[in-house]
Amino acid sequence: MGLSKKQIKVILLIFSTITVFLIPVFIKSQSYLQIFIVVLFFMYLTTAWNFVGGFAGVLPLGHAAFIAIGAYVSTILFMQYHISPWIGMFAGGIFSAIIGVIIGLPTFKLRGAYFALATMAFAGGIKVLIDNIDTIGPINVGGPRGILINYSGNSFVNFQWVSKVPYYYIILTMVIILVLFTVFMMKSKIGYYLTAGGEDPEAAASLGINVAKYKLIAMALSAFFTALAGSFYAQWILYISPQSVGNMNLSFEIAFIAIIGGRGTIIGPILGALLLKPLEEFTRTYIGSALPGAHLFILGLVLVLVMIYQPRGIQEIVLKLSRKFMKRISKKV
């Protein structure tokens, strides 16, 4: 009795989901678990970036600004007003979405390179702003020194745990929700309209699509979800600074990983993070002290090679291989 491709897919999906959920049970080392959290964290960020950078067809290079907004909003609310980071997280998300729309309104009129430059300048401006401000009225922003978050031991309300395991499950849940959201969105009218506007704005407009409106929706969603990751980061690391959450390299890394994986596809950014982050952690730990910068050099090199030889990202290769593999199993089983 042979299994259909669909059945194999479902089995594989269930199997990998179980594995992912069981990782903390088998991996006891906190520092290894930390790597898994980093991978998931970037999966989440690249998937959120993909709303604009992939589906809407432009190149945003300033997403660190949204991470910073999320991190700072929830942290300031928590530290100064004792509001649970869970609530602060959504406050940051909404604030970030509003900023996203405000910045999107003028920038979406710009073409290719100009849009990339505008988002870069916007993020640069936000970082320099935080760098320059210690307080806004009664609010302590911390300037370049950043903010150290009070540590109170295990507490769900405070979004703090001694062990890294809860953080693992939280970011895993966030990734799953975001990916499901993306899948449903791309199968709905919004997804169709966004894709059409990204592929050819003029042809899309002739079919009655208000391209700018759908890009703004994408931007708002992307900014919202990205900010949630910022709040998560703050509670996970318990320290934020303009350098750690607002810096340009972070913006670029998110974009690079998503592009290498395959922008505009759902699987691309996930694969990108899955393959590149461990590689990066590996190069950093093993040759990082002898050759600092090696991991970023590799990232740049992979990016250039992918753009030349595989412009639709490595997802294309992986999908091809997995199709071959599936054929083989479905014959054997």
Binding site: Y193, T195, A196, D200, E202, A203, A205, L207, G208
Partner: protein, 243 residues
């Protein structure tokens, strides 16, 4: 009653007047042809009507509303659809996906949009290509896809920019049949062609443009006898196909 009307429509590109003082009318359920040599200003006229270009002066009235200066998507929403001379399908998406995008204009329900898209794909004899990516289609298929996508927006008026250019005679006949079939559904159609003969048989009325100006208008019979038209088409007076 005219469904579309332009009044003294003018478009300048720097010093070049691409469209000059054009008065143009399309009645409900009519098929109107626009002919003229390459560079006569036909596409520019379309672009001004559909909002893809800003008019320099003059007015565009559609369905009794002044739509001059409206955005292309607003005009499409009102029921005026168009195709592009250089077809622009969403290349990395399937035929069904392309047409469904068009169908979404009148519904938010995906199942409804897909159903309508399939119907139109059938109507245009593309059903064997439903799942094929647009970039893998042949030119005649792409032209039909372009038409299908526009048709899926449920237009009142459909403007076709050289949908028959580059097609073989048999394919042209197919396309003409499709155009008549669409028209029978009550949709008014404007067709641009630079070869006159092609649209003789289907057009109720024809406008002829030359260097941005309207040099003649009337029934196909009147147009073929018009002195100005004959002069403009000197050498190939019946518009003998170039290739």
């Amino acid at each position: 009653m005219p469904i579309l009307k332009t009044e003294k429509l003018t478009k300048k590109f720097g010093g070049l007047v691409a469209v000059k003082n054009i008065d143009f009318e399309v009645n409900e359920k009519e098929i109107v042809g626009i002919i003229g040599a390459n560079g006569a200003g036909k596409t520019t006229l379309f672009n001004c009507i559909s909002g893809n270009l800003k008019t320099t002066s003059g007015k565009v009235i559609f369905d009794n509303k002044d739509i001059t200066g409206h955005k292309p998507y607003e005009i499409a929403e009102l029921g005026l659809a168009r195709t592009f001379q250089v077809v622009r399908p969403f290349a990395n998406k399937s035929v069904l996906y392309n047409v469904t995008v068009g169908a979404f204009l009148r519904t938010n329900q995906k199942s409804e949009a897909i159903e309508k898209a399939k119907e139109i794909i059938n109507f245009l004899n593309l059903s064997s290509k439903t799942e094929v990516l647009a970039k893998n289609l042949t030119l005649p298929e792409r032209k039909r896809l372009e038409l299908a996508r526009a048709l899926a927006t449920s237009p009142v008026l459909l403007m076709l920019d050289e949908v028959m250019a580059g097609l073989r005679p048999a394919e042209i006949q197919d396309m003409l049949k499709i155009i008549e079939k669409i028209n029978k559904k009550g949709i008014a159609i404007v067709i641009i062609e630079h070869i006159m003969q092609v649209i003789m048989s289907v057009s109720n009325r024809i406008y002829c443009m030359n260097f941005g100006e309207k040099i003649a208008s009337g029934t196909p019979q009147e147009i073929t006898k018009d002195k100005n038209v004959i002069k403009a088409y000197l050498g190939d007076e019946y518009g003998i196909p170039e290739n």
